[in-house]
Amino acid sequence: MSTTDTPNMTGPAPVPDNYLTYSRGIWSWLFTLDHKRIGLMYLMSVLGSFFIGGIMALLVRTQLLVPEGLIMDQDQYNQVFTLHGAIMVFLVIIPSVPAALGNFVLPIMLGAKDVAFPRLNLFSYWLWMTGALMFVLALFTGGLDTGWTFYTPYSIDTGSAMGGVIPALTGAFVLGFSSIFTGMNFIVTIHRLRPPGMTWFRMPLFLWAIYGTAIIQVLATPVLGITLALLVVERAFGIGIFNPALGGDPVLYQHFFWFYSHPAVYIMILPGMGIISDLIAVHSHRHIFGYSFIAWSSISIAIFSFLVWGHHMFTSGQSELVSVVFSLITFSVAIPSAVKVFNWLATMYKGTISWNTPMLYGMGFIFIFTIGGLTGLHLGTLGTDIHLHDTYFVVAHFHYVMMGSALIAFIGGIHHWWPKMTGRMYNENWGRIAFSLVFIGFNLTFFSQFMLGSQGMPRRYGTYPADAGFQFYHVLSTAGSYILAIGFFITAGYLIQSLLGGRRAPSNPWGGRSLEWQCTSPPPHDNFSEAPAVGDCYDFSVLRWDENEQGYVWRDDVAHPGSEDVS
């Protein structure tokens, strides 16, 4: 199945029949049932949304260069930060890894021909599109200024000029269903479509992470859907649920909202952790350390994530006892996350670490996630959270986790699987340069926000007092965001260039052992012509570098799996 012997030429031959050339024309893409094409369409859409959300972020940062606000009035600023948050959360981070990379990689990693329900998969994509269009509609029907959290009663009574609230809520509702269907599809696929030999504990850790994520998507997202639907009903028909003026309870809304949105944080970060587990092992060419600890930590994070939502509400007016209990449970989530970091480091120990772009993102992730995780301790601790809550400290913390960790893992994953998805190699040197800019820019942007927050700068402020000493950190942060943006533009540049003139990718450019590296790059339409033989996907001792192939091939002195069990 793989082109392990292509003598007398450097690099692999073009793959004649692959999923990209299988059929032609726009309709063959828009109505495809192929998980790889759907994954690629998600990828384009998510990256498009990321661009728009990123522009919003730059506007926010530019506004805050001076205390009185540089470029926008208050209404515009409120809309821009709301859209930045809503787009990045609902349209970018939540679908990024599961829907874009997961769709492409999951069935191939598993050794399946497709997901369990290909039509449902296409339907999920179109639901995503519909949700995204509702967000656009929200812009044209008056805009949205509620913050991505839609807190009541503000979201109920924000003036008629902000007519975009109902379209945006409907959009988030529809996007929720897209997410639920994707999760359902993946759960069934992992349960039912594993080929012979692919036992649960032979699955790559990325699949365990996606599985944990899918459980959260299926169980938590309906709560958000119902909450947003209630909010629409309240706003449209004046039925009192969350509005105290009508006998409702605004704190109830916060409970409902965070019952979804805290698990949703793990919808964002768990798949990222899964990517990193695979990136670190493959690019260190070393067996992953503590496979079952990592696998179970994904599942325990998924379960604990349902029990900690109240830590968003320590100052909300909920009872002190409730706050104490939530603080205690919150610390329990810290442990599996710490365990993963130690396991990744132990995997690198005595490995053979290649300093290529995906691995740089992997190491960048460990650095950033360590900061993001550790600063969660200040916020989980009740006594310090009271001071830090709703300040830039929180903004910095969740950007370290959601942007610096989840999105950095996503970008690392794109680099890791880019040769597989497109059949082309990108320019490694530009990759390393762009990574450096992204890494420096990110830390400059968001580390300064920790000090801003602990010094008292509140969130969601379009202007700030000139004498409070905030401006210095705001200027640093804005400078960092520009460096970050340059890094991303360079990344877009060399990735596009690779499509036009990149070297053809071998089947296995990095030395991975999971099944996707056994098909051609790009994979054929059916992934596998026969059920692939499954071994230990973290045993890299059976591979060697091949100069002709410019990739890794099976060692001649080791038997192929299938001929006998090598694990």
Partner: protein
């Protein structure tokens, strides 16, 4: 650890801002800061360990030219993994317990506290001192070295009261009371923020906390209690522009700029002539006919203060909250007079004139009044 924190609290009543924390000026602040520093130290240790290992491994075990095959390596080590699960577990439990103790101290007001009622509304703060029958706007005056308890309610949406120097914060939820307490340890001026997003001028919903020695505090509140009762008619406009307008300022400009609400500039002319147009297309003129609601134009200003939703001016969203009950009759008089005399109170650019024909600075009308009545 806790006893150490308590010692810190006793030893350091006031501390200048550090790299991480702003100035510390309340009894609980040293405890919060001690806890913050403790967590920071744990973070520094773990961060240095992780990053040192990361960099050391990445450099030492980097793939060198010619390394084309690899060893399998160990797959796990149960003892090691249990160790690095157990150690962080113990540390976070310590952290939780310390955090809980500080939290309960932050939340439990002493019984002998001085009480202030706080009303939050888009986008202004009102502080009422029941003991003195005094209402302050955008300024909160409290005594030093005495526990102060704020009983807070909201007129509209969620707000949150945050005083960084005191390390206290509490959301204010419409439809219920919430409370917080603090004991300031040093006289001075401190910034108060709204930290729960509440719409357009959220970032302008600020107030100043004045901490005074007990006698100064009593004198000050005593003055405030009488200020609007005793001011002669002639000084009411200056009182309104200096002492009341700060509650209007986030929405109503003085220089003609349109904000969330119409500018006060020219408002009295528009009211008198009835040229104001409402959202339903009617004009004020129609309501000023003989025997109609606003035959006396001053009544329109009064209605706008106590029932602002009744007539919303065209081009605006009707975001104004009601000031019913918050403004005394004499203060409403003052606002009406301020509208009438706005041209003498502000210059062409909308700046408040320091000494309108009444003379004196911001405090002057009150001071002057003190002298003349006693």
């Amino acid at each position: 650890m806790m006893s150490l924190l308590m010692t810190l609290a006793a030893a350091a009543p006031y501390k200048e801002a550090t790299f991480w924390m702003p100035e510390s000026a309340s009894t609980v602040a040293p405890q919060v800061d001690g806890l913050f520093d403790f967590i920071n130290i744990i973070c520094y240790i773990f961060f240095v360990l992780v990053v040192a290992a990361l960099i050391y491994f990445a450099v030492k075990y980097r793939q060198r030219a010619g390394q084309n095959t690899f060893e399998g390596g160990p797959t796990h080590n149960l003892a090691l993994e249990i160790t690095w699960t157990a150690i962080p577990s113990v540390i976070v439990i310590v952290m939780f317990v310390l955090g809980m103790q500080t939290f309960l101290d932050l939340r439990t007001a002493p019984s002998n506290s001085y009480d202030v009622s706080v009303t939050a509304q888009k986008w202004s703060w009102t502080f009422q001192h029941p003991a003195y029958a005094v209402t302050e706007a955008a300024e909160l005056t409290v005594p030093v070295n005495r526990p102060v308890r704020l009983l807070m309610s909201s007129q509209d949406v969620l707000h949150s009261l945050f005083i960084p120097a005191f390390r206290v914060k509490q959301d204010i939820v419409p439809g219920r009371y919430t409370s917080l307490w603090f004991e300031a340890t040093k006289p001075g001026t401190y910034q108060l923020y709204c930290t729960e997003y509440c719409g357009k001028d959220h970032s302008k919903m600020l107030a100043t906390v004045h901490v005074l020695e007990w006698d100064e505090f009593q004198t000050r509140l005593g003055k405030l209690a009488r200020e609007y009762e005793d001011i002669p008619e002639s000084q009411l406009p200056a009182y309104a522009i200096n002492r009341l307008y700060n509650r209007c300022a986030s929405c109503h400009s003085l220089d003609g700029t349109t904000g969330t609400g119409p500018s006060f500039k020219g408002m009295w002319d528009r009211t008198q002539q009835g040229t104001t147009v409402f959202t339903d297309g009617s004009t004020l003129k129609q309501l000023q006919a003989s025997g109609a609601e606003y035959e006396i134009p001053e009544n329109y200003i009064r209605a706008s203060l106590v029932q602002p939703q009744r007539h919303v001016v065209q081009g605006f969203t009707g975001a104004m909250p009601s000031f019913q009950g918050q403004l005394k009759e004499r203060q409403i008089d003052a606002i009406v007079l301020m509208m009438k005399h706005l041209d003498t109170l502000v210059d062409a650019d909308g700046n408040i004139i320091e000494n309108p024909d009444l003379g004196g600075d911001e405090e002057a009308p009150v001071e002057q009044q003190e002298g003349s009545t006693k």
